[in-house]
């Protein structure tokens, strides 16, 4: 049924929601703006949370970072649920084609035993690192303030489960779906000396309360060290010896990392530019967590890269430092 309307008389009373007009002026709003800005409650809370009676249910005081307007922390990807899920679904279609290609041709199972063991030793345990990142990202979205930061953090939480499962699939492609490699990787993660220093720091993040510090520790510092080291440097070393089967699967992880970095960078840059106090806090967190995390990667880098490990770690650190400096931090 179509309704005849007298189009000449029909003028909208408002072109967008009032809160969006006050922020962006009298113009049509994007779906990102509609879904994001000023959505979270800010006033007249009813009860003291039993789990945190000193603060409100939504409370900006769960971090030491101070923002005049928490909605300054925009996501340059402009994700809302709809374009987030359709983007990931499309990317997954491409990933599935690669997985299928690798599986049909037994590309990972066809690698030499040494290489397969190296991948199980040095790559597959990262599924637990990703699960840790899922916990940390869930912490950011559960206790953060303002939809602008918490909504992409929720999506990042989901992403990290996706990445953990992608890495698990690498294991299954090696062990022919027996799950042996996943079991081996868990034992490595919980007991092997190569992985204990990193697990120690991941668990330290679990007890870090300030959600913005967790954001910096996990999403800026740890990821900036882990992703390039494992999925570029170690991946390249394996490819140099054994061809690019693994790279075809790490590629999705690196692309995701680069896409996500745009959001992380925008958040850090804006928060640092807000005040000297923020800048000092953020810089301090980057230094602290970099200095904690960097040495944890040495054993596994040495195992995978031998005498090239120091150079790889130095390059990764230099890239992190340069990135932080570009974002306005003093590291």
């Amino acid at each position: 049924m179509t309704v005849e309307i007298r189009t000449k008389g029909v003028k909208p009373l408002a072109i967008s929601f009032g809160h969006l007009q006050r922020r962006f002026g009298d113009k049509p709003a994007t779906r990102y703006q509609e879904a994001t800005f000023d959505i979270q409650s800010t006033a007249n809370f009813h009860y003291k949370p039993l789990w945190d009676p000193e603060r409100e249910m939504f409370d900006a005081r769960r971090t030491a970072i101070v923002m005049k307007d928490w909605y300054a922390l925009k996501d340059p990807r402009q994700f809302y649920y709809g374009n987030y899920t359709t983007t990931r679904a499309k990317q997954q279609d491409a990933i599935d084609r690669t997985l299928d290609f690798v599986e049909k041709r037994d590309l990972l199972r066809g690698l030499s035993q040494d290489t397969r063991e190296l991948i199980v030793h040095a790559i597959v345990p990262l599924r637990h690192y990703e699960w840790g990142a899922n916990t940390n990202s869930a912490h950011v979205s559960a206790y953060g303030f303002g939809t602008a930061i918490t909504s992409p953090a929720m999506m990042n939480t989901a992403d990290r489960l996706g990445m953990a499962q992608h890495i698990s699939r690498i294991g299954l492609l090696i062990d022919g779906n027996s799950g042996d490699s996943l079991q081996a990787a868990q034992a490595l993660w919980t007991d092997h000396a190569d992985w204990q220093p990193l697990r120690r720091e991941v668990e330290r993040m679990f007890v870090t309360r300030d959600w913005f510090e967790v954001f910096v520790a996990q999403l800026l510092v740890a990821d900036a060290l882990v992703y390039p080291l494992f999925f570029q440097q170690i991946d390249a070393a394996i490819a140099g010896d054994s061809g690019s089967a693994l790279s075809s699967l790490s590629d999705a992880l690196m692309r995701w990392y680069e896409e996500t970095a745009k959001w992380i960078d925008a958040v850090i840059k804006t928060a640092a530019a807000e005040s000297a106090d923020n800048k000092a806090l953020l810089s301090g967190w980057v230094q602290t967590w970099r200095d904690r995390l960097l040495p944890t990667l040495t054993p596994i880098a040495q195992r995978a890269l031998g005498n090239k490990a120091d150079d790889a770690l130095a390059a990764t650190t230099a890239a992190l430092n340069a990135r932080a400096a570009k974002l306005g931090l003093a590291v």
């Binding site: 309307i5 009373l13 929601f17 009813h46 679904a89 206790y143 918490t150 999506m155 799950g179 079991q183």
Partner: protein, 543 residues
């Protein structure tokens, strides 16, 4: 890894095996930090969990499957939303009275989806088991979806009708919106186990169909394709959430016999709180839908008395009894809608949607649906108010009502056996008196008074002078406290609320659609007569 394993063809995995391999075992027993420092909130409620792995994740969705499944739903939904906007679908509804119900929806319900997103997000961080954490994350993400799709569809209405343009602002401030706001804040500020019993079980599993079925059929029946589309798209999420609700109850009850009384207490509480919240639907179904689908008492019979009865019979083997205050809900079902609408009509100048008196045709419908109550108690009241309107001296209530300390409804309900006596209860706490609307709400207050004394009761706040915008001077000679309180709440006095007849929405509707703004009363303005009889219009133009 062994060489011989490598020469065999890869094993084919069932969905269940695939899910288990990709999910179970992701977590680990921490050893560098204490478990209780990592998961800090799971012991204070007294629930005992001996084995988190016994919680079977009911969804068994890997993340990639979730993206694809949900992405496909979003593609379809947004295609409809785009078409709805291009074709001015907002004018396809029966009349603009229907839109008054949508105002309650965007202002009062959409933010609940958001609070739900936050509540499940906290669980997604705080539950120690991998299975429950993943289930909570996916639901948290789903709830973000619900808030988002509601905003995206209703935004089209907000452009053309009054009172929908400030929904987040109003949600935090409007006096009757503290009914939904306090409901969800109560749940989120509870411990994680109470939250999941409250929302996943009492709300989603026991009560959600009651909200969903009449609401969706009402929307479909009244031509609102936007709401129907997001509603049905959300329904498949809802099916997952209901499964979670029943799984979690069984898990808690099976883990430790000590959990049974706690779960029972939460069921009693959240059934009552959920019932009070949803009875807002009663006014919508019986009064606000121009084309009605079923009456509130019929919905309560089908979706609670029948379905709920079967459910609680099934849970009896765990020692769980039906909700303590269920009998009151049955005793009230012939009254609540009429009592609520009467209150909203009386204070119509202080609400953000327009009200009207039911037409003769609508009253005949109510007499039929409510043979024991309508003609006896409510018809005389409406007929009297109609006569006052006709005489030009319409009834208005200038004072805002006393609110219940727990559910925050005005204390408008009557005693179960006596529909002429208001139900009022009092509790003393630390030397002060607190008012509740019913035994159900008094139970809740008396169990945890230290929580409910903090409730931000808007009417109290208004009368205490806490609800004015900055710069307003209460000592100024022309100071009008009600006008200023409305501005504080984000309601445009004289525009968003008041009488439907003569309102901007009714007048615009007739101008824009050439259809009557109230299908039961005929046209209010010439705009309708004009096109109904073109000869008429041209005759007038030439004369």
């Amino acid at each position: 890894m062994a060489a011989e394993g490598n020469s065999k063809p890869a094993k084919k995995l069932s969905l269940k095996e695939n899910y288990a391999l990709l999910t179970r075992g992701l977590g680990w027993e921490p050893s560098y930090e204490k478990k209780e420092d990592i998961f800090r909130y799971i012991s204070f409620e007294g629930v005992k969990i001996h084995d988190w792995d016994k919680w079977e994740d009911p969804f068994r969705l890997t993340m990639d499957a979730y993206w694809k499944y949900q992405g496909e739903k979003e593609r379809k939904l947004y295609a409809i939303v785009d078409a709805f906007q291009q074709h001015n679908g907002q004018f396809n509804v029966t009349d603009a009275r229907y839109v008054q119900a949508l105002k309650l929806f965007i202002n009062g319900i959409t933010e609940l989806e958001y609070d739900s997103h936050r509540g499940f997000n906290i669980l997604a961080r705080e539950f120690p088991g991998v299975g429950p954490r993943i289930a909570a994350q996916m639901q948290s993400l789903d709830e973000l979806r619900h808030a988002t799709t509601q905003i995206h569809t209703i935004s089209q209405y907000a452009k053309y009708f009054t009172g929908m343009n400030e929904f987040p602002y109003q949600f935090d401030r409007v006096w009757y919106l503290s009914i939904p706001k306090s409901f969800f804040e109560d749940a989120v500020t509870s411990g994680p186990f109470e939250f999941i019993v409250a929302i996943s079980f009492a709300f989603e599993y026991v009560l959600t169909n009651l909200a969903f079925m009449p609401w969706m059929s009402g929307a479909a029946f009244n031509g609102d394709m936007a709401t129907v589309s997001f509603g049905f798209s959300a329904q498949s999420d809802e099916a997952r959430h209901m499964t979670l609700g029943i799984e979690v109850i069984k898990f808690l009850l099976e883990q430790d016999p000590g959990n049974v009384p706690l779960v029972q207490k939460w069921i009693d509480k959240w059934f009552w709180r959920g019932y009070r919240l949803l009875s807002l639907l009663a006014t919508m179904m019986d009064y606000m839908l121009p084309k009605r689908v079923m009456a509130w008492n019929e919905a309560w019979e089908i979706y609670y008395e029948q379905n709920g009865g079967a459910l609680f019979a099934d849970l009896a083997r765990y020692g769980i009894k039906p909700p303590k205050r269920a009998p009151e809900t049955i005793a009230e079902k012939g009254h609540v809608a009429h009592q609520m609408w009467s209150v909203f009509y009386g204070v119509r100048d202080a609400v953000g949607f327009q009200t009207w008196l039911p037409s003769d045709e609508e009253m005949a419908w109510m007499s039929e649906k409510y043979p024991d109550t309508f003609d006896k108690y409510y018809r005389p009241r409406y007929e009297y108010w109609k006569s006052l309107e006709a005489a030009g001296t319409p009834f208005k209530n200038a004072t805002l009502p006393q609110l219940c300390q727990v559910c925050q409804w005005p204390c408008l309900f009557t005693e179960s056996g006596d529909p002429t006596t208001l139900s009022l209860r009092e509790s003393e706490y630390q030397g002060q008196t607190f008012h509740t609307c019913s035994d159900g709400c008094k139970d809740i207050f008396d169990d945890t008074p230290e929580k409910y004394v903090h409730a931000w009761l808007p009417v109290h706040q208004i009368y205490q002078g806490n609800c004015f915008l900055p710069g307003v001077d209460p000592t100024a000679p022309d100071f009008n406290p009600m006008y200023e309180a409305l501005r504080y709440m984000g309601i445009k006095p004289g525009i968003d609320g008041g009488d439907y007849k003569g309102s901007a929405d009714a007048t615009n509707w007739e101008n824009w659609t050439s259809r009557p703004a109230n299908i039961h009363e005929g046209a209010y303005t010439d705009a309708v007569r004009d096109t109904a009889n073109p000869a008429d219009a041209s005759a007038r133009k030439t004369s």
